[in-house]
């Protein structure tokens, strides 16, 4: 679930307020949005994808809130990973969309089916 809005990175553009499909954030006059309805977060990471200042952190746990260490997360380099891998915004052209190869995952992952026992 969404855990962090990093005030020192946030540009107060309120894009996350708009694009969150479950209306988790509330815009605040003159400041970063607040996480107002964390329990509605569906852990889809799409707010991170749309956040051009990499100011949001969604923890992987979809079942309950977890304690997070903001400094360690900033230092980890994980912020913005979704945008970089998706080739959005300034990363356009640097990470091609290879979704068309998804079929290979299914095809090559399939285990050979054992012959039916008589």
């Amino acid at each position: 679930m969404i855990e962090l809005v990093l005030a020192d990175r946030c540009t107060d553009c309120d894009t996350c307020v708009q694009v969150c499909p479950t209306n988790v954030f509330d815009a605040q006059p003159g400041g970063p949005p607040v996480i107002a309805r964390q329990e509605d977060c569906q852990t889809c990471f799409l707010c991170e994808l749309y956040c051009q200042s990499d100011a949001l952190y969604v923890a992987p746990n979809c079942d309950e809130p977890v304690a997070v260490d903001a400094e360690a997360i900033v230092a980890s380099g994980l912020l913005g990973q979704f945008r970089r891998d998706s080739g959005w915004h300034e990363w356009a052209g640097q990470s091609p969309n290879l979704h068309w190869r998804m079929g290979e995952l299914f095809a090559r992952g399939r285990k050979p089916v054992a012959a039916p026992t008589p």
Partner: protein
């Protein structure tokens, strides 16, 4: 102050089907309003995923073969003509997105149209819809339908939850026809992208008199890392599974691992590793499915070398096949002027008793949305908007309690109660008559509470939650009652107490009702009168 609008076509829901419906209606010359519960572009299960579409070139023999093969697995509940039409409509429609989606150019210089990454797909659909003049109302959940005196759909009411006072700003849209594209009902399981899929459209339509079909086929599950929403099955094609003692779990070589994993999970923790994924695919996985590795990276887990705990996330009707019953080839429901598209509609006609998976269901969303959009545009042209006539609001539970409004958080009690009946594997994947009967009695009690005491809350969130709670209870009852009324095992519907398939039950089951839930055999298939556009698809 209420936002009051009138238009030709109202689409409720801005996911895959809703977007295609809005685009088709606008292309046909209609004025369109699309109201989404969240944000059109990130809402719905497609935005978080990456669908393939059923994609067969217009070669009559190839198409006939694709239909034959799929129909043979539908266990008697599908219709080959409906399958053929979605293949054809999808083939014609999907490439029109090209101005808004950067399709990969694959071998032979041919754009790869059929498989798209979710966030980019829905972003493209929003741009496409906006370019065609569709007016999008984001964060505007519909709460109830409006009906003409003759019972036909006249529009809807809802709330703009990011505007106005704490209770939100009400909206009312009058239209010549309404398309429900609110997705399947996931019963608040943690399927990726499904938080908004609470069956709101099912409830609204049923209150207007619509019937449902196939609600027993609501048992699809997908593997994910425990506590994670990443229900992305492609990578799990490489998974090997182990129990707590480290013994490999035999999944029988079948790509559908649900039943063996559910049995193992009922016995204890289950672990997986993706070690079989070749290094070349590992390297490009972030470009295929950029989100799937995020939870692993954030927990310091290497899924290719380490074992991690997994779970099965339920999907309810999302990749099941149940939904609103269709009365004609335009995807009109049993209520005149009310149409259903995508996962909100039954997909039995194209998938039968087994899941339509991603590819068939996506083709269905594109096609059913397109047909419904075109049909309501024609309706607006032929009959006009009828926007001046008096209408009645159809909503009940969660809007207008019959008794004393509850003071406690009844919405939470009801949703917890639904989850307790609809999510445990032993109740859903291994159904038994007596257990289903007990569930139904419990759910009937929840419905009486909802009907009599569930009141709209003071703020916009609480208003929406009350309707979600009522919708979840209603969908759970139709699903459970229909499962009870099918004493056999057929496809997704698996009865532990009746393991055989009964040839006498090779028909669809429709359901409906609010105070009294009913289930009935349904042997009709909506006729197709529109001639198939050339090249005609031959179905043996």
């Amino acid at each position: 102050m209420t936002l009051t609008l009138e238009t030709d076509v109202l689409v409720i829901g801005g996911g895959l089907a809703g977007c295609w419906a809005a685009i088709a209606a606008a292309e046909a010359g209609a004025e369109v309003i699309l109201a989404d519960k969240g944000y059109c572009g990130t809402s719905g299960v497609t935005a978080t995923a990456g669908p393939n579409h059923w994609w067969v070139p217009p070669d009559p023999e190839k198409r006939a073969q694709a239909v034959r093969e799929r129909n043979a697995r539908a266990l008697g509940l599908a219709d080959p003509r409906w399958m053929a039409r979605i293949i054809d409509t999808t083939w014609r429609t999907l490439p029109t997105l090209a101005a808004y989606y950067e399709h990969s150019i694959t071998a032979g210089g041919v754009p790869h149209y059929q498989s798209l990454r979710g966030p980019e797909y829905l972003r493209a659909l929003r741009r496409y819809a906006e370019a065609r003049g569709v007016r999008i109302l984001d964060h505007s959940p519909a709460l109830e339908l409006l009906l003409h005196a003759d019972g036909s759909a006249a529009g809807a009411r809802g709330v703009r939850r990011q505007e106005g006072p704490p209770a939100g700003r009400d909206w009312t849209v009058r239209a010549a026809g309404v398309i429900v594209a609110t997705g399947g009902c996931a019963f608040l399981a943690k399927l990726l992208g499904s938080r908004n899929n609470t069956g709101d459209g099912h409830l609204m339509a049923a209150e207007a008199g619509a019937r449902l079909s196939g609600m027993e086929f609501s048992t699809y599950h997908t593997v994910a890392e425990r506590h994670s929403t990443q229900t992305r099955s492609a990578s799990y094609a490489f998974a090997d599974y182990f129990d707590a003692a480290g013994r490999e779990i035999d999944t029988g070589g079948d790509p559908d691992v649900t039943l063996p994993l559910a049995r193992a999970l009922l016995a204890g923790p289950v672990y997986a590793t993706l070690a079989r994924m070749p290094v070349d695919l590992r390297a490009i996985l972030p470009q295929i499915q950029p989100a799937i590795l995020l939870p692993f990276q954030r927990q310091g887990i290497d899924p290719f070398t380490q074992r991690f705990t997994i779970t099965l996330q339920g999907e309810g009707t999302v990749r099941g096949t149940g939904g609103l019953r269709l009365a004609d080839e335009d995807c009109q429901t049993d209520v005149p002027g009310l149409y259903a598209a995508g996962d909100a509609a039954t997909r039995e006609l194209i998938a039968g008793a087994i899941s339509g998976g991603g590819a068939q269901n996506s083709a269905w969303a594109v096609s059913s949305g397109t047909w419904a959009g075109q049909a309501v545009a024609r309706l607006a042209h032929d009959r006009g908007r009828r926007a001046e006539t008096p209408v009645e609001a159809a909503g009940g539970a969660g809007l207008r309690p019959r008794g004393t409004p509850a003071t406690a958080d009844l919405s939470r009690l009801l949703t917890d109660g639904v989850r307790a009946e609809m999510l445990p594997y032993d109740k859903i994947l291994f159904r038994r008559g007596p257990v289903l009967a007990r569930s139904l009695a419990t759910l009937d009690g929840l419905w009486r509470d909802a009907r009599d005491h569930l009141a709209p809350g003071a703020d916009a969130t609480a208003r929406v939650r009350a309707r979600e709670a009522a919708a979840l209870v209603a969908c759970a009852r139709w699903s459970t009652a229909t499962a009870l009324a099918r004493p056999e095992t057929r496809g997704l519907h698996r009865r532990e107490d009746v393991a055989t398939t009964d040839p006498a039950l090779a028909h669809r089951l429709s359901s409906g009702g609010l105070d009294e839930v009913w289930v009935a055999a349904d042997i009709t298939v909506p006729a197709i009168t529109a001639p198939a556009a050339a090249p005609a698809t031959q179905v043996a």
